[in-house]
C-alpha cells in the first residue's frame, strides 16, 4: 500500500523529463520529493494524478495500479497543485462543495466533511468568505482542507508553500506533518526547500529526471546539513 513508483519514464518529444524513476512511500510516511527546478517533480505529479499517462513503468496508489484502475487510484489521492486551483469568486463553502461533488459527495455528508476538514485546518470561521478575500497562506490551507474532504489515504502536494511568507510556510508544513503523524496519511511533498524537511522524514532526491537517492533524512545526511548534501548532489541552489 502507500505509494509506489516503479521504473517510470516520460519524455516530451525528444526531451526526457523522467528517466527510470522508482521509489516507494510507506503507508503513513511523510516523504519529501526534493529536487531543483526542472528536476521533473511536476511531470511526476502529472503522472501520479493521471493528468498525463505513460507506458513506461508503473504507479500504484494505495494498492491500485493507476493505469488499470484509474478511478479507484484517483479516489485515494488528495492533491494540492503548485498552481492554485481555487475559484476565487466562490465562497470557501462553495469551493469545497464543488470539489466534494466531483468526488460524488453531496448533502449532509458533504457538509459534515467540509466542516471537519476546515476544523482540522483551523479555517472553520472562514466558511462564508470568498476565496478572493483570503490571504495566500489561508488559500493554501483551504486547498489542503479541500483535498481531505473525500478521506484520501495518500496526499500529493506539489511545492505547496511557493509564494508564501515564512510564517505561512511553517504553519502549512507543520499541518501536513501532523496529518501524516496523527491521521496516518501517506504524504508526498514536492519541494526544493530543504528547511521544510525534518530529520524523520523520508526523502527522495530527484535531479534531471533521475532519482539520485531515497531514504530517511538522517540516513541520507549522516549528520551533515541536508541543504549541503542536496547542493553537493545537484549543484543547485536550495
Amino acid at each position: 500500500m502507500g505509494l509506489s513508483v516503479r521504473n517510470v519514464s516520460y519524455a516530451y518529444g525528444e526531451k526526457r523529463a523522467l528517466d527510470d524513476v522508482s521509489f516507494h512511500v510507506s503507508p503513513g510516511a511523510f516523504c519529501a520529493l526534493l529536487g531543483p527546478n526542472g528536476a521533473g517533480k511536476s511531470t511526476l505529479f502529472s503522472l501520479l494524478t493521471r493528468l498525463m499517462t505513460t507506458t513506461g513503468g508503473m504507479i500504484e496508489i494505495a494498492g491500485f495500479d493507476i493505469s488499470k484502475h484509474p478511478r479507484q487510484a484517483l479516489a485515494q489521492i488528495g492533491v494540492v497543485f503548485q498552481q492554485p486551483t481555487l475559484d476565487l469568486d466562490l465562497t470557501v463553502r462553495r469551493n469545497l462543495s464543488y470539489f466534494a461533488a466531483l468526488h460524488g459527495l453531496s448533502g449532509r455528508e458533504a457538509e459534515s466533511r467540509i466542516e471537519a476538514a476546515l476544523e482540522r485546518l483551523d479555517m472553520a470561521e472562514r466558511i462564508a468568505e470568498r476565496a478572493r478575500d483570503l490571504n495566500g497562506g489561508h488559500r493554501r490551507r483551504l486547498e489542503i482542507a479541500r483535498c481531505l474532504i473525500h478521506s484520501p489515504s495518500v496526499l500529493l502536494l506539489d511545492e505547496p508553500t511557493v509564494g508564501l511568507d515564512a510564517a505561512a510556510r511553517t504553519a502549512i508544513t507543520k499541518h501536513v506533518h501532523d496529518l501524516s503523524a496523527q491521521e496516518g496519511m501517506t504524504v508526498l511533498w514536492a519541494t526544493h526547500l530543504t528547511d521544510e524537511i525534518s530529520l524523520d522524514d523520508q526523502v527522495a532526491i530527484l535531479h534531471k529526471g533521475r532519482l539520485l537517492q531515497q531514504g530517511s533524512s538522517h540516513e541520507i545526511t549522516n549528520g551533515a546539513p541536508l541543504k549541503d548534501v542536496f547542493l553537493s548532489m545537484t549543484g543547485a541552489e536550495a
Binding site: 526531451k15 502529472s46 498525463m52 468526488h103 460524488g104
Partner: protein
Amino acid sequence: MRAGLIALWAILLREALRFVRQRSRFIAALIRPLVWLIVFAAGFRAALGLSITPPYQTYITYEIYIVPGLCGMILLFNGMQSSLSLVYDREMGSMRLLLTSPLPRWWLLFCRLLASTTISILQVYTFLAVAAIYGIDMPWHGYIYAFPALIVGGLMLGALGLALSSAIRQLENFAGVMNFVIFPMFFLSSALYPLWKMAESSALLRDICALNPFTHAVELIRFALYGQFNAAALAWTVLAGIVFLGLALWGYDPSRGMKRKAG
C-alpha cells in the same frame, strides 16, 4: 451513477453562478443578436427579396428569416465562450481539479458541455422573448419544438468549442479562433441568407455553406420553430457533434498529456 449526477449538478451550478456573476457577458450575448435583428435586418430588408421556401408558407420579412440564424449565433458564440473559459480554467489550474476527479473523464467533459449548452439555451429563450416583444414571434408550439433542436445544436457547437479548447494552448491564441472559426462559420451559413440566394452569387460558396454544420444547426432550429422536423439537418448536426466530441475526447486524452512541457 449517483456520483455522476451529483457531479453534473455541481458543474451546472458552478457554470450558472459564473454566468450570473458575469452580467456583462449576458448583456453582450443578448445585445449582439438584437443589433443584428433591429439594425442590420432593417437595412437588409430592402436589399434582400425572399421567396417562399420551407418551412415558411408565405412571404416573410427579413427580420423573421434571420431569427433562427441569430439563435444559432447565440449558441455559436456561447460555445466559443465556453471554449475560452476552458482554456482559462486550464491556465488558472482549475481544470486540473476537474480532471483529477475519480469520475470518468468523458463524463466530466460531457457535464461541462451540457452546462454550457444549458446557459446558451437560456440566452436563446431570452432573445426569443425580446424578439416577440419587438413583434417577431413564432407559433407558440414552435417555442416548445425548438427546445430539443437547441439542445442538439448547442451540444454540437459546444463540442466544437471543447475540441478547440484542447488544441488552444494559450488564451492569447483565442483571437485566431474568432477570425478563423466563428466568423467563417457564421457568414458561410444559412443564418443570414438562404442557400438559394447564396447560389445566385456563387455555386461554390453555396456548396461550402451546405457543408457547414452550423448551417444545419440553424436549419434544424428554423424548422423546429415552425413546428416542423428537418431530418437531414438533424442527421448532419448530430454527425458533426459526434465528430467534434470525438476530437475533444481525443484532445483531452491523458496519454496525449495535459500540457506539452512541465518543470
